[in-house]
Amino acid sequence: MTPISRGFRGRRQPEGVAARLPPGQYETRDFPVLSAGPTPRVSLSVWDLTLRGTDGQSMRWNWDEFVALSREKITVDIHCVTKWSKFGTSWEGVAIDTLISEAAKAGVRAGPYVLARSDGGYTTNVPLADLTNGKAWIAFNYGDAPLPPEHGGPARLLVPHLYFWKSAKWVRELRFMESDAPGFWESLGYHIYGDPWREQRYAGDE
């Protein structure tokens, strides 16, 4: 049975806020920075993004080619597994749908699962269905400014409906796979899928 915490009142959120908070989360107005290693610094002159198909075919964009693709502005709530949520964050980026359709013209075959890989070696896995139909982007602007390195710049994956560790900072490659495979945190005790509304924080959470 859940014990009552003697003398704990807590900070009630207004209705509108409470409804936007997944279970176990609290709102922050800051933008906390959490990373497992040093922040990579990559020059835009050498930056590129690769989509790698299940058959080994790949499509690559350099920075100029990437930012010339069709862009979208996105305003979304984000939820970190460490329990903070931030409302109404504004981004600009290229939809994964756009990248996939461009890559398809070059013969890159999509698969049902994706492993994102970043500068610094970070990886995270996301089902393809969670990246398509307007659900995910590669974001390169935050607010109206270039995405700062500590927040994943020059470009990061943005998958706002999953815990934010899935929105890989410093992303450089999306690799399509026929079967799911855990990324970095998913191999270290965190949930394979990570839906904040079902509070799928850790391996074993239903």
Partner: protein, 186 residues
């Protein structure tokens, strides 16, 4: 990786406060009895959940300060001025009170004696807490197997700064390149 992570859901457990230790003006260590605690590795954390009388709940994550060898689980908590949970934990909680927690969580920032040394631990503010678990684990292992640990070369240095006083307490001396600060050595 902790056995607790393999497969089963990490369960909420009821912990009872055995003791509250004042570490600094803003920091308390909560010493907890946790029936059924599965054990942890130095560097792991827990989620803490508080429940108000009307059912309102708040969750936060806190690093474990105690060594795996210790009989009780210790969390060291720094009070944040505008915090919802930390002021309750540091000012209100008393011996005999209960709270819920689940863990241990995290398999990345951990250190065991078997990984070896030497250690060079650097922390700011409450970041010292998981490092204290490592130091305590090391000291337990040292006293238990003094010679074996020395052979492992598990020397340790800690560099920390405490935000409340902005002092840096360098207890590192004589670190040379030969000590090796490679990733595996932490």
């Amino acid at each position: 990786m902790s056995a607790a992570v393999a497969g089963a859901r990490i369960a909420w457990r009821v912990a009872t406060v055995a003791n509250v230790v004042r570490e600094t003006p803003r920091t308390r260590t909560l010493v907890l009895d946790v029936p059924g605690w599965p054990g942890h590795r130095a560097g792991q954390h827990v989620d803490v959940r508080l429940t108000a009388e009307d059912g309102y709940q708040a969750e936060r994550s806190y690093s474990i300060a105690s060594a795996p060898e210790d009989t009780k689980l210790a969390l060291t908590v720094e009070e944040l001025d505008d915090g919802e949970v930390s002021p309750y934990l540091t000012e209100e909680l008393k011996a005999g009170d209960q709270l819920e927690l689940r863990g241990p969580i995290g398999g990345y920032f951990v250190w065991d004696v078997d990984i070896g040394g030497p250690l060079f631990l650097v922390a700011g503010g409450s970041g010292i807490v998981p490092l204290m678990a490592m130091i305590r684990h090391r000291n337990s292992a040292l006293s238990a197997h003094a010679q074996a640990a020395r052979r492992h070369g598990a020397g340790a240095r800690v560099l920390s700064s405490e935000r409340w006083r902005f002092d840096v307490r360098p207890v590192c001396r004589g670190i040379s390149a030969a000590d090796g600060l490679g990733r595996r050595r932490l």
